[in-house]
């Protein structure tokens, strides 16, 4: 296999990596807010259930969660997953929504009480205070930890191959076993590096955009 052929084969695998990354990110960012609201809920039962759920998700390996989502519906309800990719995406979204929710919670709780009170004495509604006063400040504060998680997500996609989803490392492994070439496996690192490099630049640009004020 020529270098070009390997590159094309790996690019094909990386397409799956990218889709898994993008769908997880797009869904987990808003879902994380929902989980965050649950873990801050004034209703004790909602709060306790949400926090217990976060504990389970953060306390077990993502690889195990992928396996559970893929196999358990078939074992218990006799409804096996038709799409391996769908199972991976669902497991990833749930896992990342929980991690994001904790970052959101930290961000929201770091905003001084005085900001809410200033909004209140100016006659704003709770929704206005959240969206007009607090949210932008939260986004600025959580951007660095979110960048960390987002970059981790890119690399976590490699776990998808535990249920034979053809992401980039899986593609490389196919070459290893089919053509007796080992180097494509290491070559996948370049794909991750380049993609994360681009992401780092993009997230850095966002941080810079928000650095027009302090506090």
């Amino acid at each position: 296999m020529s270098f070009l052929q390997v590159t094309l084969a790996l690019l094909d695998g990386f397409k799956t990596t990218f889709i898994l990354f993008a769908v997880t990110l797009l869904a987990a960012v808003p879902l994380g807010l929902l989980v965050c609201l649950g873990s801050k809920s004034r209703i004790p039962i909602v709060r306790i259930i949400t926090r217990a759920f976060i504990w389970v998700i953060r306390g077990t390996p993502l690889m195990l969660q992928v396996l559970v989502v893929f196999y358990v519906p078939g074992l218990i309800f006799k409804m096996p997953f038709q799409s391996r990719m769908a199972a991976v995406i669902i497991a990833f979204i749930i896992n990342y929504a929980c991690y994001f929710s904790e970052i959101y919670r930290g961000g929201i709780e770091s905003i001084p009480k005085g900001q809410y009170e200033a909004g209140q004495v100016l006659g704003m509604t709770k929704t206005q205070i959240f969206f007009r006063v607090v949210l932008m400040q939260v986004i600025k504060r959580i951007l660095p930890p979110m960048s960390n998680e987002i970059i981790t997500l890119v690399k976590d996609t490699s776990l998808a191959r535990i249920i034979s989803v053809g992401e980039v490392i899986r593609s490389a492994q196919d070459i290893v076993s089919g053509y007796a070439l080992i180097w494509p496996l290491f070559y996948t690192g370049v794909f991750y590096l380049l993609f994360n490099g681009g992401l780092t630049l993009l997230l850095g640009w966002c941080e810079k955009k928000l650095s027009y004020y302090n506090g």
Binding site: G114, Q115, E117, A118, K140
Partner: protein, 261 residues
Amino acid sequence: MSFLEVSNITKSFGDTEVLKGISFTMERGQVLAIIGSSGSGKTTLLRCLNFLETADGGTIRLGGDTLFDAQNDRRISDSELRARRLRFGLVFQSFNLFPQYSVLRNVTLAKELLLRDEGHLSRAERRRRLDEIDEQARALLKRVGLEAKYANYPCELSGGQQQRVAIARALALNPDILCFDEPTSALDPELTIEVLKVIRGLISSDRTMIVVTHEMNFASSVADHVIFMADGVIEEEGTPEQVFGSPRSPKTRAFLQRPDN
């Protein structure tokens, strides 16, 4: 009947009784200074007036309207609460400006959001009202001496300038009563002077103000009426001459003789 009638306000946090039945009245255009040591309940009283805390007991009447009655007031709607809050303005000790907005936007934001409550406006009407809000904000900022800082962000201003923005922001909503919660306690002496000068400049026959302060000179020179609070009660009140000149209560005397006053 007085413009503001506060009667028998009580407030506890857990087992700590912070306000033990506060009653006072004031007339329109008056300046009331509330003094007292830390922990005497001054700030809590202001927060109850602004509905940042809900008093446990008592009533608040303003301009003939009952704004708060602990007896039958447990559940009021959010919009009703907002309407009541707007009758009072509050300038905080720590300014609490919105850091992500320019100075001008800090002053206009709340008014623009209130415009939405008025239901649907034609585009031209909306434009006209927004221009009005903008113009008013610029006039207020000019009045507090910040006409050169419209486009700056709070982090670019000194503490004194930030507090002056906060004053303009509170004035923009034209509250019936403007409250100040130790407005200069977070400031250096020289910045204190500029802020006090601005507050002094606000006094007029239709501006009613309540100032919680540690600045005794300021209180005695601007206030029409002074309340000295100690341990959650009004220990002494009267004109500045009475309270500062010939205090009757030993607690007041002890407080006024402290070297830092």
